[in-house]
């Protein structure tokens, strides 16, 4: 029996050769248990060693191998060829990011946004070490656990048209992470963090399209996090207007 093959159209950007993006088509042997990342590795090892892309863990944990697969943001290590076979598959770099080379995007702005919301536990005064660890009930852990599952794969940024229109938008994953710390009973930094996210390029930029939550491979639900931060900020502002010691600006 003839070997079954599948065709991959892969976006290329090699600025030292030509200034624009173009596509290369590769026919590779098809197996039911192959994922897109296996196909890219086959291309790099056997057909064209110059192809560039990021990957690491192969098991949906590291968040490096996010790409556009047939125009949808996916983790290529957990997207099987069989989902598309026998039709050809188009692989492109994540949308809404500048492209450095082939399928590799520039994450600089994402990393800067990530730091800007202070994603760590903030305390007014740290108790001494002898006081022991901070204790939490299972219910308190439940408040933020879902939002702590983010692997920074940036699929949500590629799915968000607002990020495309406004590159300064803090974006889904960053605000979800801010929300994760705001919901943590050990944290006291909500006011500080809300100053960073309750801005025109933060929570108020989101129009609640909701695709960030749909494409998230870890079910983080950033869309819900952003809307809940909008409610929290509005509540705090109203309380600070109405009560002498209520809420915080």
């Amino acid at each position: 029996m003839a070997e079954r093959t599948i065709s991959l159209k892969v976006a290329r950007y090699r600025p030292e050769h030509r200034p624009d993006q173009y596509f290369d088509e590769f026919d590779i042997p098809y197996r039911e248990d192959m994922v897109i990342l296996d196909a890219l590795n086959h291309i790099k090892d056997e057909l064209d060693g110059s192809l560039s892309y990021r990957w690491s863990c192969r098991m949906g944990v590291c968040g490096s191998c996010g790409m556009m697969v047939n125009y949808k943001p996916r983790l290529t290590c957990s997207t099987f060829l069989r989902e598309f076979y026998p039709k050809p598959i188009v692989v492109e770099p994540l949308e809404n990011f500048p492209v450095v080379r082939d399928l590799v995007v520039d994450m600089t702005s994402f990393m800067q946004k990530l730091q800007s919301v202070k994603p760590w536990i903030i305390r007014h005064v740290d108790p001494p070490m002898e006081a022991g660890e901070y204790l939490q009930t299972p219910a308190e852990v439940e408040q933020y656990k879902g939002f702590s599952m983010c692997i920074n794969c940036m699929l949500c940024y590629a799915a968000c048209p607002v990020v495309g229109r406004d590159p300064d938008f803090l974006g889904p994953a960053v605000i979800a992470l801010a929300h994760r710390y705001n919901m943590d009973s050990r944290d006291q930094g909500e006011a500080e963090r809300q100053r960073a996210i309750a801005v025109d390029w933060g929570i108020w930029d989101c129009t609640f399209i909701g695709e960030c939550s749909v494409v998230c491979p870890k079910d983080v639900d950033p869309a819900a996090a952003i809307q809940r931060e909008k409610v929290a900020k509005t509540t705090n502002t109203m309380l600070s207007m109405l009560l002498p010691f209520g809420g915080h600006e």
């Binding site: 500048p98 520039d106 909701g210 695709e211 869309a223 809940r228």
Partner: protein, 135 residues
């Protein structure tokens, strides 16, 4: 990184298309949600015009009522009703993603919140219908 914060290598910046909202089902549904909000605004404007006509006296009010009863306005009202119902349904669904209600140490499931919203809407509609028909 260079001093100005820009990348020290050439990058390809892609401009999103103006018609992104037509590209995929979820984006089209979002656009439909936003466009139907204009019909909600239109309904509010009609309501204000209704009150204005009422304030002008029985003659103006009667004229406004016959204007509302014209074929064109009946068609427009049907369109507005359909659009507002669609808009309401989308926001009922979205609300279940925003609101977290905890009862007896458990989070109320999304479908239960949605059902409560629908029941509340039906109850208010029934009350309005009751007052319109029997008073």
């Amino acid at each position: 990184m260079k001093e100005d914060g820009g990348p020290r290598y050439p990058v390809l910046v892609r401009t999103p298309s103006r018609t992104w909202w037509l590209r995929a089902g979820p984006y089209r549904r979002f656009a439909a949600r936003e466009i139907t909000s204009m019909f909600a605004a239109l309904f509010s404007a009609l309501l204000i015009a209704f009150l204005f006509a009422l304030s002008l006296g029985p003659h103006a009010y009667g004229r406004f009522l016959s204007f509302l009863g014209s074929t064109g306005m009946l068609a427009a009202s049907s369109l507005i009703l359909a659009a507002v119902l669609y808009h309401m349904a989308t926001w009922f669904r979205l609300t279940t993603h925003i609101v977290v209600i905890r009862l007896g140490g458990r989070t109320v499931p999304r479908n239960a919140i949605l059902a409560a919203l629908v029941v509340a809407w039906l109850a208010v509609s029934a009350a309005v219908a009751y007052f319109l028909i029997w008073f």
